[in-house]
């Protein structure tokens, strides 16, 4: 019944193969984590704080090396959205959105076109010449998203991007991100500790336990895209959230 917008028979673009991570101080952040994501799949990992969720993304993006197993991904085609917007305060929105493309030496006219397109996609038109300090938290996050969209990544990694936002802004950005997901057809790996957000966004929810971080449960999310706000109040949605919550409690012990 799961019908994601893109074809699912493509080969996986991101796969974890028995990945383990032990920090030098002996903390076992990840243990034997295996899963893979195909284009058009949006996988969310929920788990208690400090369970190693973020470490997964850091390994996928090569910011850290796993101590065991193997992570396979095309590293030139990754978009990474950080917990905070990580905008450069000295650059305007436009120049911030252009940053990554600039670092990849994309030529100027191409960059300007792609930038205008990305700003349009996240709905920041009219704010191109504002500086980050003139923006609200939600708008900063949009700019951050636009910056990653510039390179049209095949794999998008999200490290609790909306965690610091208020509920309304967060739900709005959830919708916007889903729209981008459908429009761009990337593969998403999303980290959050909000169960509602996880179920609302994803094709699949993974529940992680802490110390060591392990995938304890996998839930396929059956709702079709596009999803609307009201989905959050449907019984089937609530039931699935309940199951995830239950699994998360189990993982906490």
């Amino acid at each position: 019944m799961s019908d994601a917008p893109m074809t699912q028979n493509n080969a996986a673009v991101l796969s974890f193969d028995h990945v383990s991570m032990t920090f030098p101080d002996g903390t076992r952040a990840l243990e034997d984590v295996s899963f893979s994501i195909r284009p058009g799949e949006f996988v969310t990992v929920v788990g208690p704080s400090g369970c190693g969720k973020s470490t997964l993304l850091r390994i996928a993006s090569n910011l850290e090396k796993s101590t065991g197993g193997h992570c396979d991904v095309d590293r030139d085609s990754i978009g990474f959205v950080f917990q905070d917007a990580t905008l450069m305060p000295w650059r305007t929105v436009r120049r911030n959105v252009e940053l990554i493309a600039e670092l990849h030496k994309m030529d100027k006219s191409q960059r300007a076109t792609a930038c205008a397109e990305a700003i349009e996609l996240v709905g920041l038109n009219g704010f191109e010449d504002k500086y980050p300090r003139q923006l609200s938290g939600g708008m900063k996050m949009r700019a951050s998203l636009a910056r990653s969209l510039m390179m049209k990544p095949k794999v998008f990694l999200f490290d609790e991007p909306f965690g610091a936002l208020d509920e309304i802004t967060r739900e709005r950005l959830n919708d916007e991100l889903l729209r981008l997901f459908q429009h761009e057809g990337f593969a998403g790996l999303f980290i959050t500790h909000s169960i509602t957000e996880a179920v609302y966004m994803s094709t699949k929810v993974l529940v992680m336990s802490s110390r060591p971080g392990r995938i304890t449960d996998v839930f396929e999310v059956p709702f079709s895209y596009p999803r609307t706000h009201d989905l959050r109040y449907e019984p089937a949605f609530a039931e699935l959230c309940g199951q995830v919550s239950h699994a998360l409690r189990g993982a906490h012990q």
Binding site: L63, M88, W90, L99, G126, K130, P132, S136, T228
Partner: protein
């Protein structure tokens, strides 16, 4: 963007709402605007300053010692309103000296900025270099320059070079420390963003660390600029030659000959030079980083 429009309509955002209203409110611009109270403060302190001056000169000092601090009107009439009297008295010789010192201060400051920032960049990339040089920088800052004057005179030729060295020694520390602090102030996640794109360390320096350091660099510049003027005046005291001398040397002559009004006038002008330099760098900082950095308020 027809495909986008299509998908927008499917999510429960009201497409009729303009984007600006859809987005969260823009954070208000909270920077202070110029107000009348900004002028009242300096005016009040100026009146207080003149009042205290008169009090010391006319009341506290007995009349036979009044030459030590002549009242303001005598400084104005004899120090500022006499163009030239003899070889050294009058406004013209004072201004010539001031210009001479200002040149030394400015050249010295330029050298300080280049050397100081280069040192800070090197220190930011190599921790051992930071550890190796830091104690000596602190030591230079607190070293009594006047005790070093015989040594400087012995190893460096030419009063100009000697004066420049004094300027650099006195003004370099704030530039180095503030630049270094600024270069190291970029967020970890901002650094990671650059790491993810495989940025070279030069790119990282020019596109991340240096812009991030700018507010701090300007703080350092402002302090160093003030110190460069002090350094020039101090240098004048100890290293002088015939012809036009620096303002420090001029002040020394007035002091030894007990020419009160000229002495005070020269001191005021030397301070004014420091103030002008300070204001200039404040203005420059506002021009350069005021748009995005919030705390560049004081000028």
């Amino acid at each position: 963007m027809s495909t986008l429009q299509g998908s927008t309509a499917q999510v429960p955002l009201d497409p009729a709402t303009p984007p600006s209203a859809r987005l969260d409110d823009v954070a208000p611009d909270t920077r202070d605007k110029n107000r009348a109270s900004d002028l009242v403060g300096p005016l009040v302190t100026f009146c207080l300053f003149v009042g205290v001056w008169y009090l010391v000169s006319m009341v506290l000092l007995p009349s036979h010692k009044r030459f030590l601090l002549p009242p303001p009107h005598r400084v104005i009439s004899e120090g500022f309103f006499v163009w030239r009297s003899g070889e050294r008295r009058g406004l013209q010789p004072i201004l010539m000296s001031l210009w001479d010192s200002a040149k030394v201060a400015l050249i010295g400051l330029v050298i300080t900025i280049f050397v100081g920032m280069a040192l800070a960049v090197a220190m930011s990339t190599r921790r051992w270099l930071e550890r190796a040089t830091w104690p000596y920088l602190v030591a230079i800052q607190s070293a009594p320059i006047l005790a070093l004057t015989p040594l400087i005179r012995a190893i460096i030729d030419g009063t100009m070079n000697q004066r420049l060295l004094v300027v650099v020694l006195i003004s370099i520390f704030p530039i180095v420390s503030n630049t270094l602090f600024g270069l190291l102030s970029a967020d970890k996640s901002q650094h990671e963003l650059f790491t993810l794109q495989g940025a070279s360390s030069w790119t990282r320096l020019t596109k991340l660390q240096f812009p991030a350091a700018l507010p701090n660099i300007f703080v350092g510049l402002r302090i160093s600029a003030g110190l460069a003027v002090i350094g020039a005046v101090v240098g004048d005291f100890y290293f002088r030659q015939g012809g036009v001398v620096g303002i420090g040397a001029q002040i020394d002559v007035y002091r030894s000959r007990l020419w009160g009004p000229e002495l005070i006038a020269a001191i005021l002008l030397a301070s004014a030079l420091g103030l002008v330099v300070f204001l200039f760098f404040g203005w420059l900082a506002k021009r350069a980083v005021g748009k995005w950095h919030i705390t560049t308020r004081g000028t």
